[in-house]
């Protein structure tokens, strides 16, 4: 028996695309949970990360806190919040926010930090105020790394949002839990494949976004670098 093919067959089966709990509905729920988690976590983590990257202060604390948060097992956190908040989406969303904060925080402060201090000093010398430097210099220049943080956070959220089904009738995790417990491995694998595909698709979108947000000036320097780099092996071989 080939479970892998069964999994794809399960996804393609039209019967699974109709009725309550169909694939489209679960995909929508999964995305909705992931998107709300990303927004909540971003609202918390990005300003803090920007402040740390801009001032250069509190970096050690941020590294320590985000390292600590990363070490928390999400299922344990989920159970803890579940006992506090009861069943439903509140506990999984909160647990996922904790999961998403470290990569977002790291992306934000690394992005702001990556901006050459000479550039920042030049902006300051030109008379730009701090808020203008953050918004007009550091944010656009640090954007690719910041989007990279959002990108890795979103993939983690989508993969882990399967746990929403632990406490609520929501998301693609329902297929995985139900398939496992009822020995319907086609359903379980089908659900897993959908989660993987969704994560890859979102990752791809952010990869494109990451290229788009590179400021035009930086892109010009980069392509020059790229050309000089690609010409080097040619001179070496030829």
């Amino acid at each position: 028996m080939n479970y892998f093919i069964d999994g794809f067959a399960w996804i393609l089966d039209p019967a699974n695309w109709t009725g309550p709990g169909n694939i489209a509905q679960r995909l929508g729920e999964h995305l909705a949970v992931a998107a709300s988690v990303l927004v909540i976590a971003a609202v918390i983590a990005l300003p803090v990360g920007a402040l740390i990257g801009h001032t250069g202060k509190g970096r050690e604390i941020a590294v320590m806190v985000s390292g600590g948060l990363r070490a928390l097992p999400t299922l344990g956190v989920l159970t803890l919040f579940g006992l506090w908040l009861g069943i439903g989406l509140a506990a999984p969303v909160l647990a996922l926010v904790i999961l998403a904060i470290p990569p977002l925080l790291a992306g934000a402060y690394a992005g702001f930090e990556s901006v050459d201090r000479r550039t920042v000093d030049a902006a300051r010398a030109m008379g730009m105020r701090e808020i203008q430097i953050v918004g007009g210099v550091e944010l656009p220049l640090g954007m690719p790394i910041l989007v990279g943080g959002i990108r890795s956070a979103s993939v983690q959220i989508i993969a882990t949002a399967t746990l929403a089904a632990y406490l609520a009738d929501e998301g693609l995790g329902r297929y995985i839990f139900e398939g496992l417990k009822t020995r319907d491995y086609a359903e379980m694998l089908g659900g897993s494949i959908l989660v993987i595909a969704l994560a890859l698709a979102v990752d791809g979108c952010f990869a494109i976004l990451q290229r788009v947000v590179v400021p035009a000036g930086v892109r010009a320097t980069r392509s020059r670098e790229l050309r000089s780099r690609s010409s080097r092996p040619r001179t070496a071989t030829g």
Binding site: M1, N2, Y3, F4, I5, T79, G82, L83, G86, I87, G88, A165, Y166, L167, A168, D169, R174, F177, E178, L180, K181, T182, R183, Y185, L226, R227, R229, S230, P233, R234
Partner: protein
């Protein structure tokens, strides 16, 4: 620039091919098949005892293990394996020799549409349904079966003491339990067809544990599936609804054994099963849940109390 792009395309193609090969490798064969373990020098084989990932089942398995050890039989404990769907193939393949089971749930595993509900009928049907190479020993009077429970407040307010009374409740009802309950014969569909009760379903994946209890006490769900031997039913003053139509199968504790289990071993385990009463099982579970005692200690205390072996 041109070479760089081509190089990147080549790398992409390589990754794609590699991933396909790796995935194809994963997909063939049974993911649960770990092969059978041979311990056979023949003279006195080690008996491999398994248990579910359920504290009460582990206590029973530990009692089996200590009873056999008291009779100089070597045992290998492979406890906390997981759900039935995971360990049954291991017993069938001969990797595990002795496993505490529950007659009703196990029968439904093999015969999903079984009509047997009484204890003796279920045991007889189960003995017939087991595949070649597997058999059950005597069943114990102790039961641990699925049961629907409501809070005392809900029971008093709506005058509900039996599943049949639920049809008269006018407020909407939500049932909470593990996700597989949604598809089991005694789940929402069974409630509808046997008792004419409409319920919504909310999955709570902790097998009637603290999250399920909280949801019930908070009135997020009104009806939950908790195993009948769970000490939390009494501790939280829950009302277990009667089941006059036999929606649930009777589910007595029963050992499932492989061919390696001899008559001598079977006699020992049968003695244990006969001594284990339903009240015993609830109190053993209580020692684990409320007193936080280890399965090891609970098992040896119980064997000493019953003066077995």
């Amino acid at each position: 620039m041109f070479t760089a792009t081509r190089g990147r395309l080549g790398a992409l193609a390589l990754v794609a091919v590699g991933a396909t090969v790796a995935l194809a490798g994963c997909s063939s064969g049974d993911p649960l098949d770990s092969g059978s373990s041979d311990s056979g020098d023949g003279s006195s084989p080690t008996i491999v005892i398994g248990s579910q990932d359920y504290y009460s089942n582990e206590i029973i398995a530990e009692i089996y293990a200590q009873a056999l050890e008291a009779n100089d039989i070597t045992v290998d404990r492979q406890f906390r394996i997981g759900q039935r769907e995971v360990y049954i193939p291991e017993i069938e393949s001969g990797s595990i020799d002795l496993f505490p089971e529950y007659t009703g749930n196990l029968l439904q595993f093999y015969v999903p549409d079984t009509t047997a509900t009484t204890s003796d009928d279920v045991y007889a049907a189960l003995s017939d349904a087991l595949p070649e190479g597997l058999r059950v020993l005597d069943q114990s009077p102790a039961t641990d079966q699925d049961s629907y429970n409501v809070t005392k407040a809900f029971s008093d307010a709506n005058g509900v003491t039996s599943l049949a009374d639920l049809a008269g409740v006018s407020t909407p009802l939500t049932l909470g339990g593990n996700s597989e309950l949604a598809t089991r014969p005694y789940g929402p569909e069974g409630l509808k067809s046997v008792y004419g009760v409409d319920v919504a379903f909310t999955p709570i994946e902790d097998s009637g544990g603290p999250l399920t209890l909280k949801a019930l006490v908070d009135d997020q769900v009104q009806l939950v599936n908790i195993y009948s031997a769970d000490p939390n039913i009494e501790a939280n003053d829950l009302v277990t609804l009667e089941d006059p139509e036999g929606l649930f199968l009777a589910s007595n504790v029963v050992p499932v054994v492989s061919d390696k289990v001899t008559d001598e071993i079977a006699d020992i385990i049968n003695t244990v099963s006969a001594a284990l009463t339903a009240a015993d099982l609830v109190s053993l579970n209580g020692l684990s849940v409320n007193e936080q005692q280890s399965a090891d200690q609970i098992a040896s205390d119980w064997l000493a109390e019953k003066a077995l072996f």
